[in-house]
Symmetry: D2
Subunit: 403 residues, 4 copies
Amino acid sequence: MIASFASPKLQALYEPVQQFLHDHIYPNELRWLQTPFHEVEREIRALRPQAQATGAWNAALSEAEGGPGLKLTEFAQLSELLGTSPFGHLAFNCQAPDAGNIELLLQYGSTDIRERYLEPLLAGDIRSCFAMTEPAYAGSNPVRLGTTAVRAGDEYVINGHKWFTTAADGASFTIIMAVTNPEAESPYARASMILAPTDLPGFELVRNIPIMGHAGEGWHSHAEVKFNNLRVPISNLLGREGEGFKLAQERLGPGRIHHCMRWIGICERSFDMMCRRAATRELSEGRMLGEKQMVQSWIAESRAQIDASRYMVLHTALKMQEEGQRAASTEISTIKFFVADVMQRVVDRALQVHGALGITDDTILSFFYREERGARIYDGPDEVHKASLARKILKQYGLKARR
Amino acid sequence: MIASFASPKLQALYEPVQQFLHDHIYPNELRWLQTPFHEVEREIRALRPQAQATGAWNAALSEAEGGPGLKLTEFAQLSELLGTSPFGHLAFNCQAPDAGNIELLLQYGSTDIRERYLEPLLAGDIRSCFAMTEPAYAGSNPVRLGTTAVRAGDEYVINGHKWFTTAADGASFTIIMAVTNPEAESPYARASMILAPTDLPGFELVRNIPIMGHAGEGWHSHAEVKFNNLRVPISNLLGREGEGFKLAQERLGPGRIHHCMRWIGICERSFDMMCRRAATRELSEGRMLGEKQMVQSWIAESRAQIDASRYMVLHTALKMQEEGQRAASTEISTIKFFVADVMQRVVDRALQVHGALGITDDTILSFFYREERGARIYDGPDEVHKASLARKILKQYGLKARR
Amino acid sequence: MIASFASPKLQALYEPVQQFLHDHIYPNELRWLQTPFHEVEREIRALRPQAQATGAWNAALSEAEGGPGLKLTEFAQLSELLGTSPFGHLAFNCQAPDAGNIELLLQYGSTDIRERYLEPLLAGDIRSCFAMTEPAYAGSNPVRLGTTAVRAGDEYVINGHKWFTTAADGASFTIIMAVTNPEAESPYARASMILAPTDLPGFELVRNIPIMGHAGEGWHSHAEVKFNNLRVPISNLLGREGEGFKLAQERLGPGRIHHCMRWIGICERSFDMMCRRAATRELSEGRMLGEKQMVQSWIAESRAQIDASRYMVLHTALKMQEEGQRAASTEISTIKFFVADVMQRVVDRALQVHGALGITDDTILSFFYREERGARIYDGPDEVHKASLARKILKQYGLKARR
Amino acid sequence: MIASFASPKLQALYEPVQQFLHDHIYPNELRWLQTPFHEVEREIRALRPQAQATGAWNAALSEAEGGPGLKLTEFAQLSELLGTSPFGHLAFNCQAPDAGNIELLLQYGSTDIRERYLEPLLAGDIRSCFAMTEPAYAGSNPVRLGTTAVRAGDEYVINGHKWFTTAADGASFTIIMAVTNPEAESPYARASMILAPTDLPGFELVRNIPIMGHAGEGWHSHAEVKFNNLRVPISNLLGREGEGFKLAQERLGPGRIHHCMRWIGICERSFDMMCRRAATRELSEGRMLGEKQMVQSWIAESRAQIDASRYMVLHTALKMQEEGQRAASTEISTIKFFVADVMQRVVDRALQVHGALGITDDTILSFFYREERGARIYDGPDEVHKASLARKILKQYGLKARR
């Protein structure tokens, strides 16, 4: 924790959560990565009492909503800690995409929806997913959508083709981004968010997309899904028609903070492993790996880059918290590509320091290496964020740059 | 092909091999990567007549040995072509580690060994492996070995623990690097190479090491193995006692060329995919991905780096061919780290240009990304090669640099 | 200014100083760089009333000492602003090396020394220098010193050879680091700081060292100096004998903050010029330079890196301020190499965006490019700081790494 | 020399030239850099007999033209050698821009022009310049030109504003790129090359542009020039009207080879100095700089990158030589940005290894550092070459990328 960002509330939670991770998560994570997810889920659910005992259950929520009531800057630091393991957030019921969906339902769900979907979600009894990206359109331009929701009486009839619908496998419901108002002038006013249970006949889970050698399963998967005349009541609309992007935007800012801090957690875990290896691996009689200057430079550069990342993300969170998400929009673009790049470098160096061991599954590093490669792509590739940030800056210099 | 490195003999083989890859390998490779290896092996063996018809079967061997009789510079360019698919070399029976073992048996195998092991290897009927690296010692310092072979009458009794024994699973025999002369003054004169069948009781395949999420199987695996009082006749010694490193050294130079050219093949394949994607992916109405200057810079830099790599490797091969392996020793160090670095960059860029598709298994790129991360580690990490090269250079300036 | 680091006191000074720079410094700096320094000095001294009117004269000092009484975190942000021009600090009498010398004299100068040297220094009427680095020893190992000060009655007799004695040309006195206690066990307890006027016969200014094409002159120079039986009263000793490194250390921490913030000022100036150019340079009919994605990526990456640098430096300053310099020692190492690297990248990109204009002296960029290359070397090369940081970290993992 | 690119003719010249550089150039170059150019010129002209005795005078020319008759691949390697000093090419009368002008006059000059201008140029008695770049238009788009040449009777009347006219100061004539056919459909057919003596009243040398702190002088300068109703006979036209770009293109290919090889010479010189320093600089008792792994990695990476550069350039030269300039057009784009980047890295590393000494003018490195920064800008910035190369490649994939 950074002194100026610490708080008594956060400090009270931090140590118990750290202890929980050491006791229940780190010792199991390599095994869990090779175990069918429904078994992992059962084991993790069995740990719920201990997780709840730390006070950090539903860590992102206010006290009224059943969480610890952390400010964004506080939750951010907890998110870093949870991010040190692939299963950290899951154990505390604040994993993507459920955490974001919870926010949406809290704010926009009807009483009925809240009872039927939000309650069990908050209890960790069901999971959900979020269907946005489509294979036919570049993810870098989110307003191009082929999925449509057409009103027919009291129902929406939804048709479309999505992919990278994270955790769809086993989810109880999905929130779908679909075009409801194709005639709206602004492309940002054409889509809406609609909740749909996954057990309806029109919901087709085509496949879990094999990624980096694994199709994955359950929460740990990214699905291709199709909606074939999927019919849901119009009361499943979240917010109003045409507000899809507005809601997505609201979901985006804090989500970006969560993600970036999770990545920093991955960095710190990798950094710790790199140092431990460097300090203990003997190269030849009495010469340790950590005495090599190239290894030292990696350690020093990683330390600097991780610290820089954390400062940037926490200050972005602080600005969002104090001045609102809109005021922090350039910062929100910046942290995405900055931290994703740092993560890839740090993980790569840690892996290299481990030599042949690094590419095996005997450590968590090879998982980070392949699994988190997506960080530079998901949620808009880095290049799009860089270009977008530069255009915002250049606009202040009078340039009307085209996309 | 580079004009100045082309030759009629190479040109006669090149096009048929290219055709073979297009007809039989590329269309199957993604499926094969998700198929049990023994089935893949059956399919690939069934393609043997067509492979042989190209004239490139046993591509690294002389005509006397049943190959096409290519010079090193010629084979190098064929190796690049075969390297464009993970299954290219296998289809032509010139895959590692068998190709290197064939060289050893050709040169050092007794008549008996050649009949029993070399013949079926040349025919592609069996596979083999090579047991060198040990988990207990840093791979960067190959003379530190714990495996011993002690003479007991007409036999060697071998004990030891190896890992990263590529393709041990299903191999008929292994060549083992073991200490036979612990008392030799030079650490380079203590070890020997000994052939051992894998069906002896003292040979224990502990596991196929899970690497980047996959334990692999058959040829496509890296095993941890133990030798528990493994007994083989002393006639299984290759060369003389204490010559293990000398033989390894001989095996190394051409092997390095093969590997680097295979990596360049991976680069060219990735580059081609990157360009194809850039030229055809629409970002928005009429704007193509390839019009973006960042993508253009990746394409240009990749082109330059791949070409630079090829020139360096071919000139290294030329020097080995004309002046001997010893004369080319600094070049052999150089190409390892230079080309491995280029490959990682090119594959990473190609993947990024593919966006979310790039991390899926719907293209070969994610396989290259994770599978070839080992290139910077196998065979001595890059850092060791850089330091070693620098020490050789600085010696000419009068510096006696310690390791 | 970063909201969480702003303060009413700083805000009150900031705008007037900014105005002063726009009115009096920026319009003159290119001309001053090509004008003999004594004329520049005269012009800048003539601006003293206006500079004092801003309230920021002697900006680093407490109110008791005649400065504005800024906290370190506040002064740091002012230092960034002043750093946007090579003449900013000079105009406010807080330039290196005088600012550091003022600190030393304030704390360790006798009444006599304070009257004779400190008073005119605070008034901006004289300049001073600091003689530490020696050509015969690597700057990366500061305890190796050849300069000696031997007591002879009431005097020290000083002999030695220094270089990179910044601003010695025209300085009224120098502070010399010299070995007084060669027999001390710890190499850190052998040297002392001694003040010497430069008009004594034993003080020889050998030359202003030509650097990047210019020998420089006056404040803007780095001298080679020799002490030939230079005799000064023993009362010119600062602190006690053997405390030289202790004093240097105290001088180092805040000095590092000043430097790094000055570098960030250089970054912001370069960034501003890069954006202005990108927004206004036409490539062809209606196509502006800033629409090019490579330029956009440089702008975005620069923005991110500059912001990251500022957060790191300000948090380091905050830690020093609240927990003391010792507590912040790893941070002090980190910011040096991190910010120096960012500065070189940002200046290089800004220069490149200016095309041929960038290498001319028609903008300040070519000056930054060549003049600030030293940042990665002065004060210990980056590599030394990285290795030192890594050793501190690895010590926590149990490694006793040798230098 | 690379064995496969050596030749008896080249070898016969190489050693004497190397000896000449060691005897007459290296010992003087630092002094010359601080001496008025007309004095340097006098000294260098005095060395002409010794230079001619090597057989390499007018090194780029055929035997018929009074040169040694080297092939492009041979001259390239000589150019590398000459490039190790800023004065190497000048001593052998093959310096830019004269070498290119000689080519133009040889091919397109009338008998009269050849007598009046070419003869003394070949003898090294006069110098010339080439006026192309204009401050008002981005150099990256050479067809945008404001300079015009209008026929008036037997004369062209030339008006325009150029800058970066290298070596105009003291040149006897210039070749001017000017628009003669503004109505031509293709922008590539609008300009012509016209020779103009510099002693005519309409030729105004506005200033030598201060670059990296120096306005320079004589051959070592870049001028801003204006043509104010400059009148020259129409027989001063080189080639035909509208052929300006065709001629420039012809001049470009070999010129690029010369430049890139000169840069490689700079790399080799810097590399040699880096190694010498690393091998001899003591850090502490018995610990040498070259034992540090970071320095070793710089040496290794530099070795690899320089070798890669040389192979690429020589193969490009070979292709031009055997298949013509047009066939090698992508290679010619590639080497520009690849080698310029390598040069900047190698010089930067060599400088860093020299510590504080590196930024002084006591070695040649600081000159290379600042003087050669232009390499990434002159002749089209790297980004333009990268984009252009990528567009050529993508065209083969069916993309019609706009500029």
